[in-house]
Symmetry: D2
Subunit: 362 residues, 4 copies
Amino acid sequence: MTAETDAPLGVAVIGAGYWGPNLVRNFRASPEWDLVAVCDLDTERARDVVGAQGGAGAGIEVTDDLTALLAREDVVAVAIATPARTHRALAEQALHAGKHVLVEKPLADSVEAGRAMVELARRNDLILMTDHTFCYTPAVQRIRELVEDGSLGEILFVDSVRINLGLVQPDVDVFWDLAPHDLSILDYVLLGGLQPIGVAAQGGDPLSAGKSCLGYLSLPLAGGAMAHVHVNWLSPTKIRQMVIGGSKRTLVWDDLNPQQRLSVFDRGVDLIQQSVDSADRRTASINYRLGDTWAPALPEREALGEMVREYAAAIREHRDPATDGDAGLRVLSVLEAAQTSLRAHGALVEVETSAPMLEIVR
Amino acid sequence: MTAETDAPLGVAVIGAGYWGPNLVRNFRASPEWDLVAVCDLDTERARDVVGAQGGAGAGIEVTDDLTALLAREDVVAVAIATPARTHRALAEQALHAGKHVLVEKPLADSVEAGRAMVELARRNDLILMTDHTFCYTPAVQRIRELVEDGSLGEILFVDSVRINLGLVQPDVDVFWDLAPHDLSILDYVLLGGLQPIGVAAQGGDPLSAGKSCLGYLSLPLAGGAMAHVHVNWLSPTKIRQMVIGGSKRTLVWDDLNPQQRLSVFDRGVDLIQQSVDSADRRTASINYRLGDTWAPALPEREALGEMVREYAAAIREHRDPATDGDAGLRVLSVLEAAQTSLRAHGALVEVETSAPMLEIVR
Amino acid sequence: MTAETDAPLGVAVIGAGYWGPNLVRNFRASPEWDLVAVCDLDTERARDVVGAQGGAGAGIEVTDDLTALLAREDVVAVAIATPARTHRALAEQALHAGKHVLVEKPLADSVEAGRAMVELARRNDLILMTDHTFCYTPAVQRIRELVEDGSLGEILFVDSVRINLGLVQPDVDVFWDLAPHDLSILDYVLLGGLQPIGVAAQGGDPLSAGKSCLGYLSLPLAGGAMAHVHVNWLSPTKIRQMVIGGSKRTLVWDDLNPQQRLSVFDRGVDLIQQSVDSADRRTASINYRLGDTWAPALPEREALGEMVREYAAAIREHRDPATDGDAGLRVLSVLEAAQTSLRAHGALVEVETSAPMLEIVR
Amino acid sequence: MTAETDAPLGVAVIGAGYWGPNLVRNFRASPEWDLVAVCDLDTERARDVVGAQGGAGAGIEVTDDLTALLAREDVVAVAIATPARTHRALAEQALHAGKHVLVEKPLADSVEAGRAMVELARRNDLILMTDHTFCYTPAVQRIRELVEDGSLGEILFVDSVRINLGLVQPDVDVFWDLAPHDLSILDYVLLGGLQPIGVAAQGGDPLSAGKSCLGYLSLPLAGGAMAHVHVNWLSPTKIRQMVIGGSKRTLVWDDLNPQQRLSVFDRGVDLIQQSVDSADRRTASINYRLGDTWAPALPEREALGEMVREYAAAIREHRDPATDGDAGLRVLSVLEAAQTSLRAHGALVEVETSAPMLEIVR
């Protein structure tokens, strides 16, 4: 690591709509980064984003000319915060120009597009990162540690509930709107990423909105384990809860309880012994543990600040970021398979994953 | 109705195992009933049940001779609390003897057996009642009222969660152990009973116990509505929660919060208008209501006392009880269809219901 | 009311420290007000406050010359956000210059100073308002309505708890730091304001910080009622709860439960009849009501915006604001009496209130 | 200690009213005890208590003749569950007869009576135990361990809340009805027992019931620490919460949350250093810790069973029981001092404790 690598990296934000300003603010606040430009077809909007955040904004270019922007040598990396259908074209243009690319979730609007992006980045030896922001919250970071260090044991089940009174989106259903959060978290905390045996989706459209307004995803995992996601726009009570049942301990994440977001229960069920009797029936002795509960303290930290730090670290250390393009692709694959399952009345549908990924898992 | 009908009705309890003593206690405490006998092959056990409850127990016969018992003229009705596989034979014997029959849930161990019982009772003009105890709790009684009087509007979705650290049962899976509670409640509170379009079941067996230890039932209802049940033996946190989303109001029943079991939210989503534009896309205007919450007071009352009262009333008034044989049969039908769905990896399976029932619904 | 009165009122904020920026932001955002100047001895700090909020800040004077500022004719009113010990001198200067005055809480650092301010404002026919911000939250506004319209009946008791892990303040104890919130709320919601028979204070200093770090105020009210305040800097659990027991209904305000901040319980105790028997003992028949609970919906609204609106309305309508100088004086009086009680080991100490106020009460 | 001491101890229960049956049931269930008699002036009531609990009740004498009972040699100990005003006379009679004595709380109806009982037991070398049942719950037992082993550090404050909608008692006020629970727990968990510097009591009687229906006790402890008790019959929400703030950790006991009764917060405030500056003002550097929370698992165990076990152990081991006569006397002393404080409008009143006890403290 030379002194040069410690200089801030030049970055440009593409897209000044809903999410862009958050990226602009965090790149500016980070000592790792030097925000050099904001690009949007609507340059007035881009100028507002730069100006509204106080200070001179001196030195930050506002432009609608992406080609010129990508020609700038001081731009090492870009962050794309535009509609999903435009992600592939913009990312490919940037990757061809030799820039590292961060893409707002979802990675793309189809598995096909996502895979093309992943492969191009790999060929060009550039970083492709998906902005799965939730993975950088202190709670999810801690959950991953607890899975990795074996505190929970083997994962037996994950049950995730994300329901509230939400806007019925004009262009996407409740799965595409809310489930990416749950799926990206699952992908982040499960060892080897989210690799379900299949997906079965059930949706409800009781208001005849023309799309699912509430729904359930069942994701059987290897070894009889099961992940399940409940998303719902129509619930007057807001619930953001994930239960991760492990063979050693079980974790409950209640994101709406700031006083005790994470609880780790040293309780569980063990199948102590198991035999097959003469009648070919399994018999089992079950052991229940009723131990203490433990709520780890969590730091107060903005997830997006952590995310841009990881982006810089991945570039400097020439390694995959924690939420890379493959992670984005795995989430896309589940969403597409869920769509297929919905059309098949909930039949279990295999998740299309590339061979290289399967090799990683096995 | 003559004065005679107000005299206590003679009843015998068949089965002195786990549930029998509860029935004995409630029949004894009820002014509507005169408990005349307890029948069990293990007469010592039966004697304990009669004796342990104080007093002389004078006049209560303890017997293992069912035929003699059913020949007694003062026995108007029986209550069967034996293993499910014996329900059909015992109920048929009692019905042939002209006795009204109450059966502990589940009604039988198969739809075929249950239907035979229902049909025999109907032919003999006798009451066949299923002891769906939960339906007689003050909370469920109130929920039914709120559905019936239109307070909730049309039912859009029902989400029921029943999870805790539970015993892995030797003979049944988690669906047969826990879901009958949720299904019987759904059957009781939904107008016309539980008549799903189909059932899709997903189960997990992460301990290799040879059966599902956690699982999910999706029950699409008419009009795009959806009921869903989550049962789990492996969760260290206990949750007993049902959310019933209606077009007017939404109800949350949290059975573990004695200070506020029921909450009725005057909040919801309305699809005000809906049109199909030139591009053949539906557009919708959504209206959100954020009104008050209301928690009705509930009386303190034992459900089983209410249940035996209903049994007596149905006999006296010569009408179907609130949880009749058909209700038990509908629950059985869903459980059987769920088994089929499990074997088909979660495919949506039609629920076998008898023609007469379908006629009622349509 | 002429058209002129609808023009924005010119206001200057004095003090650009901790609270000043909040006032600046809300005066700017309000159509009722025209912020014409910010005054601070540290003009750089004042300039930052004006500039940091985007836009040109054109037309907003930044000055350290209070005399010149008060000579401006377009300044109709001032808002003082400086340390409490400076409130009296600044307010008197502004009142002599004919300006209406809003003062950050507490009104002053002594009852004597506060009374002088109240009397000067009255003599000069000018508004003196105390910024009791909490009184303008949707929750407190609704509580006041429920007391005023008789929904709660007569107030029997008020129990307020405000505890958390807080900074041990260098200059004030926990009573002066936290209790003004509770006392100002009590003053706002009780009919006729907070007029206790006396104050008894108990404080604890277990860390030998030289001041109370936790404490209790008992405030006996007329008719046997009781208000009580618990403040604590040393509690790891945060509680913000007020229970208002009324003869008809009881209200619980849990400010940390955004899903149900206010609960109104239609439960309570009535003393139905009461007689004195021959042995001169009172006998009473008690009636318990166990009715529904009701949680009124509350709008999302910033309290400070509502407060500056009330300031403008009081000036335009030439009336006392909801939290006037007398309100600030009543809170001060209780705090001073509490100090006296602390020195007297918790003896009940009369609250010094001016004769005119007493006349209002009796 | 000979083998003989392991034989069950003969015990008689005096009083078959409200609490007596609970004692009867637990003495019977305990292998340490042999219940030989139940004594009540109303022998029919006594007979019901013996008979209602099933079995023959053979060998259990039912009597109204206390003198004869106390003459029985197989009666080693008695348990008194009669009205408080009769405790002294009955206990003295039993102690004179050489029997160990357990007394239902409160120990007596006055400090004078209580002290006479304690002294007589001491002179006669007999056990005098107070039935402070709550001290034998798993939660309180665990709290005492955490105080004793230093996990909490020095106790800085204790705040106990015990409020609900309760019966207005005909003969006692809310302090005598509810506070004995809190005071006996405080006495049990604080090292050296409850030895406050004084007591200040504030009561409210908003219904003109002729006695306090809600009230507050402040109990300043040595070193600036403070204990405080809030009891209330008029609250529609039920709260049973005790916060014990320590210099190392803080414990919250929420008795209505069966899923997490005890929470131990590794959070707190330290006064790191403290100096007196030139202006004679203390300055302090405060350190905040924000560590994990830990909820110890608690066994399910009936408190009364544990209490009768301790009674037997104290007799066998010839030692003071955990809740001895002195403990009962300390609780009585606080209650009497609180009455005096109430009459003195809340002034701090010294607690009358015997000289020997004071020596222990100083």
